[in-house]
């Protein structure tokens, strides 16, 4: 039995699971990672979808990966290479455009063209968001205390939190409170008048959520995406060379270097539990592995209702997990292109193609896209966040050809009539048709296309309902409520069974923080 006995088993080699495994192995634990798919990475994978064309199939940019993880796991030496993604280009429906560049002066000149007042507001808004990101940053790095508990660690945590918020001063605290509760559009209305600017900024507030720019709560997601900005001073944001899969590979390589063992094509059927204590896992193949702790990197639904028998768990937790909102709302279209798209409003292969291309011409456009989804349809004219990684990392495509990654919202998981092959292709057509309105040569360039609906995302990655953050980043399921009250500290009611995915604090994006915090808690309890 000794050969299959481990200190820790991590289920799922997504980036969070790999981070947790790396830290556990680093502390000397004999650690095994089990991954269902043949590749590591979960939603951060690079795959050669068409011969010669490599795609970051799902997650496509890196901005939130915690700097302490980069440092502590020595990720640059294991292949982490972030290439700059410097601008955001928004083509408009009136034939004009808006670009925000890396350089503030250049951005100011461009915004001034549309609204001199907004050009003045921009640096002030950036300052506020930096202050807000600084206010939230310590929270990202802490295990959420339970405000209803009188345990010394919880009381100490709440005190620390209270002290932190007091130190912000009233002005910043109020601004933070507003950010947490308002809609992105309302919040931005207070700052800007040029609608496409508001639309493009509010777009980062809706990514990954079943919310429109006018839905309360969307302002927080805006902040979540700004978190990368304060570390952006270190320029740890942009494309990973070789695609996001190479980020996962780097973390996996670090984990292996610390002694972790990673097995792919090894789907876990269930966690083995005896007398309220986890003691190992059983694979679908029937093989069993024993370990002192089992860590699930999967989302809360799979962690609590599929990997273990819900009967092992208290009813209120099962109820909370049932209420926990996934509601995948986005899809992905990956295109292999014969050349570069030519935008009518800004023709030619200029620097605007090297950054993000945002199809967000107005707040109303986004809200209407959301309206389709509200009533169970994919957006006829969706919001898109587009990048062409091959312009920065030419090795992603054959010489002279390109790969285009299109993140699309909205594509509701619960689409009317369910997702079928026909519906998937209709969704793909809507994306291409919409984009072709701005770049008419697009259709003639397409060599191959891959369309991924939330149902496909769920099927391939295992993310429930195709939710890219393992559950929405909504206030009612953040911090000490993520994923459920009283179970936000990575432990579960089953002794020796832990959770570390994006469904735990602080949640989504290629951030790694939950994996690190979970490992810290596990090691603290190791004794």
């Amino acid at each position: 039995m000794s050969a299959s006995r481990y200190d820790a088993i991590v289920i799922g080699a997504g980036h969070s699971g790999l981070v947790a495994a790396a830290y556990l192995a680093r502390a000397g634990l004999r650690t095994l990672v089990l991954e269902r798919r043949p590749v590591v990475g979960g939603a951060a994978v690079t795959e050669e979808v068409f011969p010669g064309f490599r795609f970051s199939v799902f997650s496509y940019v890196v901005s939130l990966l915690r700097p302490e993880i980069i440092r502590e796991l020595d990720l640059p030496r294991h292949g982490l290479r972030i290439l700059p993604l410097e601008s955001t280009f928004t083509p408009l429906e009136n034939g004009d455009y808006l670009v925000t560049w890396a350089d503030p002066d250049e951005t100011r000149r461009e915004v001034y063209r549309h609204s001199p007042r907004d050009a003045d507001a921009l640096p002030l808004f950036d300052r506020l968001m930096q202050q807000m990101a600084l206010a939230v940053k310590p929270i990202l790095d802490m295990v959420p205390p339970d405000p209803t508990s009188l345990a010394p660690s919880d009381v100490a945590g709440m005190l620390r939190l209270g002290k932190h918020f007091r130190s912000l001063g009233p002005e910043r605290f109020h601004a933070l409170y507003r950010l947490l509760t308002m809609s992105a559009a309302d919040f931005l209305d207070e700052w800007f008048e040029f609608d496409p600017l508001k639309a493009t900024k509010s777009a980062s507030g809706i990514i990954g959520s079943f919310l429109g720019p006018r839905s309360p709560g969307s302002a927080y997601v805006l902040l979540h995406h700004y978190m990368g900005e304060i570390d952006g001073a270190f320029r740890a944001w942009g494309f990973q060379q070789g695609g996001t899969g190479a980020v996962s590979e780097a973390i996996a390589s670090a984990a292996r270097a610390f002694g972790a063992e990673i097995r792919t094509s090894a789907p876990v059927a269930r966690v083995l539990v005896r007398d309220g204590r986890a003691y190992g896992v059983a694979l679908e193949s029937g093989d069993e592995f024993e370990a002192r702790v089992v860590v699930s990197g999967l989302d809360p639904r799979r962690t609590f209702t599929e990997l273990v028998d819900p009967k092992e768990l208290p009813d209120d937790l099962i109820e909370a997990v049932r209420r926990y909102r996934f509601r995948g709302s986005s899809g992905k279209v990956n295109l292999a292109l014969d050349g570069l798209p030519d935008f009518t409003c800004l023709p030619g292969p200029g620097p605007h193609l090297r950054g993000a291309i945002s199809i967000s011409p107005s707040v109303e456009y986004l809200e209407r896209a959301y309206d389709d989804a509200k009533y169970g349809e994919f957006s006829r004219s969706p919001y898109m966040d587009i990048v062409i990684p091959s312009l920065i990392d030419p090795t992603m495509a054959p010489t002279g050809k390109h790969v285009m990654s299109i993140f699309v919202q909205y594509a509701p998981y619960h689409v009317n009539g369910g997702w079928t092959d026909e519906k998937r292709e209709a969704f793909g057509d809507a994306v291409i048709d919409t984009l072709s309105r701005f770049a008419p040569n697009l259709k003639s360039l397409i060599l191959h296309r891959q369309v991924l609906t939330p149902a496909d995302i769920e099927r391939i990655t295992g993310l429930s309902e195709g939710s890219i953050f393992q559950g929405e980043l909504a206030l009612q399921q953040l911090f000490f409520l993520r994923p459920a009250p009283a179970w936000a500290k990575y432990s579960t009611p089953i002794r020796g069974y832990w959770q570390c995915g994006s469904g735990t604090h602080p949640g989504g994006g290629i951030m790694g923080a939950s994996g690190r915090l979970a490992a810290r808690r596990i090691l603290a309890s190791w004794g």
């Binding site: 982490l80 890396a102 010489t399």
Partner: protein, 397 residues
């Protein structure tokens, strides 16, 4: 008349400089960066292909039956072993074994060499050539130099070269035509990445630039300025005259002079060649141990973060490499000084080149380096690491 000259590539580089970011180098103006921030240009060096105008380098053609004898007398490496179409990186020293400059000796044929460096050398070469059958020619103005660096540089070059440049080995060179333009291609560079330096007649330089830019588009070829190059060369652990050391010919005081051993270039001092400038002093120093060493410093990011956090600020790193001296301490006592440093996007770490007194040069030694935060001179923790910081296989492959 303008005080600073422009390089032969100025007609192409000037329109690309978008924010007036020029600098002076050896009497020329060159672009610090084309963008106001060097991130994209740097990324091209490490992930695609970058085109860099390094024409201000001093270049001397040394021809004649005694060319080998002259160079072997001047430089510290053994030039008698330099084969035709081979290049040597070397230092050259004064009689006291102190470094005057570092650069490259390239053997173009049996009796013809090219010496390139960062300081003027015609007078020094002439003084050493007394009694030798050799002709010296300053080719600095007549020859333009382009550095083509990055993992895809070979792919770009293959598309324009008449001959098989792919087979060119590290530190070898060849005469060929690039897009029909006669050029010397050397597999050399300042970045420690796969890369080439292209030597071309000044009047054909613009045509070569155009051909490379056109052919390299699918490989993401990007013009890069000195900021990007400087970041790459610091990662590569390459020193620069006038920045990381003073030329012995120009040092006002003795303490500003350095020997090759003190600069980490002891390996360029041949132990078994014939007489050369500084030989006796260098042999003696080889036996003794140098008092100073050039080391790499990895600056601890948490300690920098803490300095900023004391003021409630997010950590900031300089956006471009710095070249001002910074004191280096061991337990509060100054034991050296850093001469250039940068944020390394590749290592996600602040790094610096520093001169440190023995015995504090051993890898792993914990030091501190001065770090000014919010107008206050503070110290950031740093660790001595072996140079270079970065040394990929592809450089030699």
């Amino acid at each position: 008349m303008a005080m600073a000259a422009v390089t032969p590539l100025h007609p192409r580089t000037a329109p690309l400089v978008r924010a007036g970011t020029w600098r002076r180098w050896a009497g020329f103006v060159v672009a610090s960066g084309y963008d106001p921030h060097p991130d994209r240009e740097y990324a091209a060096i490490r992930s695609a292909a970058a085109l860099i105008d390094i024409s201000p380098l001093y270049k001397y053609r040394i021809a004649g039956p005694d060319a080998v004898r002259l160079l072997d007398r001047v430089v510290t490496r053994d030039v008698t072993r330099c084969r035709v179409d081979q290049a040597l990186y070397t230092t050259w020293c004064d009689g006291a074994g102190k470094v005057i400059d570092d650069g490259m000796v390239s053997r173009l044929d049996d009796t013809t060499f090219l010496l390139t460096g960062t300081t003027p050398s015609l007078r020094w070469l002439s003084m050493n050539a007394v009694g030798l059958d050799v002709a010296l020619e300053d080719r600095s103005a007549a020859t333009a130099t382009l550095a083509l660096q990055g993992p895809l540089s070979r792919a770009v070059l293959e598309r324009v070269a008449e001959d098989d440049v792919a087979s060119l080995r590290y530190f070898r060179l060849m005469h060929t035509k690039l897009a029909g333009i006669p050029a010397i291609v050397s597999r050399t560079g300042y970045t420690r990445d796969l890369g080439y330096e292209l030597w071309v007649d000044a009047e054909r330089a613009v045509a070569l630039w155009d051909a490379l830019m056109a052919a390299g588009t699918p490989d993401g070829i990007t013009p890069a300025g000195i900021w990007a190059l400087d970041t790459a060369r610091i990662e590569a652990g390459h020193i620069m005259a006038d920045v990381d050391y003073h030329s012995a010919h120009l040092a006002l005081i003795e303490s500003r002079k350095s020997s090759p051993f003190e600069l980490g270039l002891g390996w360029t001092v041949s132990p078994d060649k014939g007489p050369f400038n500084g030989r006796r002093a260098l042999e003696a120093e080889r036996e003794a141990r140098p008092r100073w060493r050039l080391v790499g410093l990895e600056v601890n990011r948490e300690s920098v973060e803490r300095l900023f956090a004391e003021h409630g600020l997010p950590p900031r790193m300089p956006a471009v490499p710095w070249r001002e001296g910074r004191p280096v301490y061991r337990l509060g006592r100054q034991v050296g000084y850093a001469t250039s440093g940068c944020w390394s996007p590749l290592l996600q770490q602040a790094i610096a080149l520093a001169h440190v007194r023995a015995p504090y040069h051993e890898p792993g030694t914990r030091l501190t380096v001065e770090w000014t935060v919010e107008h206050r001179r503070r110290q950031a923790r740093a660790r001595v690491v072996p140079l270079p910081f970065f040394d990929p296989e592809r450089k030699r492959a």
